[in-house]
């Protein structure tokens, strides 16, 4: 069985990104191919900011998710509309908006909600963390 995670809760106001991380670690440790992808929507897209600097004595949540993507080859998608309105911008969007910088962290990618629809149709279950 393959799962997709839909994470919608803010990494600062909720524990959605933390709980999702715990779930994905547990799932991958037992079934390495059990996660098809992770889609971040609403304020959860803030997880993909490369310029956020958490205090050194706290978990670096963005890095923890990057490690998952890197070690297990799990794609981390951020909703492009939700991300751009919150200042999470990749190189392409940066050029489109004539900005001088981009803020999207490595191993995250901006995708439309159509990608979420595709994930819904190709995995057994979607689990929302909010």
């Amino acid at each position: 069985m393959q799962y997709t995670l839909l994470i919608t809760g803010s990494p600062y106001q909720t524990k959605a990104c933390h709980s999702g991380l715990r779930f994905i670690k547990a799932a991958l440790s037992k079934y390495p191919d059990s996660i098809k992808g992770v889609f971040f929507y609403e304020d959860a897209v803030l997880i993909g900011s490369q310029i956020a600097q958490p205090p050194r004595d706290e978990i670096n949540l963005m890095k923890a998710w990057q490690d998952i993507a890197q070690q297990h080859n799990v794609p981390l998608y951020l909703c492009i509309a939700a991300a751009v309105r919150r200042g999470i911008i990749n190189d392409t969007e940066s050029r489109r908006y004539e900005l001088e910088q981009h803020t999207l962290a490595e191993h995250f990618q901006l995708e439309g909600l159509g990608t979420l629809v595709d994930l819904m149709n190709t995995t057994n279950k979607i689990i929302q963390f909010r």
């Binding site: 839909l6 919608t8 929507y41 609403e42 304020d43 509309a81 939700a82 439309g112 909600l113 159509g114 979420l116 629809v117 819904m120 149709n121 279950k125 979607i126 929302q128 909010r130």
Partner: protein
């Protein structure tokens, strides 16, 4: 095809949750996925007529309701027990459900997303 229920429970004026939940519903419908809506709690404010939000309040999401049928989103459910919702001052397309029907609603879908 999976049948999806989008459950809105947050005030349309408190944050972007209502808007982004509706956005997801419209995208699902655009991709010809079966999707219904249900509304409870503070999100019920979305249904009341005569809303005139300013730019600071955010987009007028109430206006969007009239366009749902063009996306083939035909079911928007509310719970009948919300007696403060008078038929005359809310969007007429909402379908009120009895308490037992409302409770049974959530197990009728393959996926339920909450905003």
């Amino acid at each position: 095809m999976k049948h999806t229920l989008i459950h809105l429970n947050t005030s349309p004026y408190a944050n972007l949750a209502c808007k982004e939940g509706l956005d997801l519903a419209l995208v699902l419908a655009t991709f010809e996925q079966a999707v219904d809506l249900c509304i409870s709690g503070a999100a019920l404010a979305l249904l009341t007529d005569n809303q005139q939000p300013t730019a600071e309040h955010g987009k007028n999401l109430h206006k969007l309701l009239a366009g749902l049928e063009f996306y083939d989103i035909e079911n928007l459910y509310i719970e009948k027990a919300n007696t403060w919702l008078k038929d005359s001052n809310i969007w007429p397309g909402a379908k009120p459900l009895e308490e037992t029907e409302w409770q049974a609603l959530f197990s009728q879908y393959q996926q339920v997303f909450r905003f």
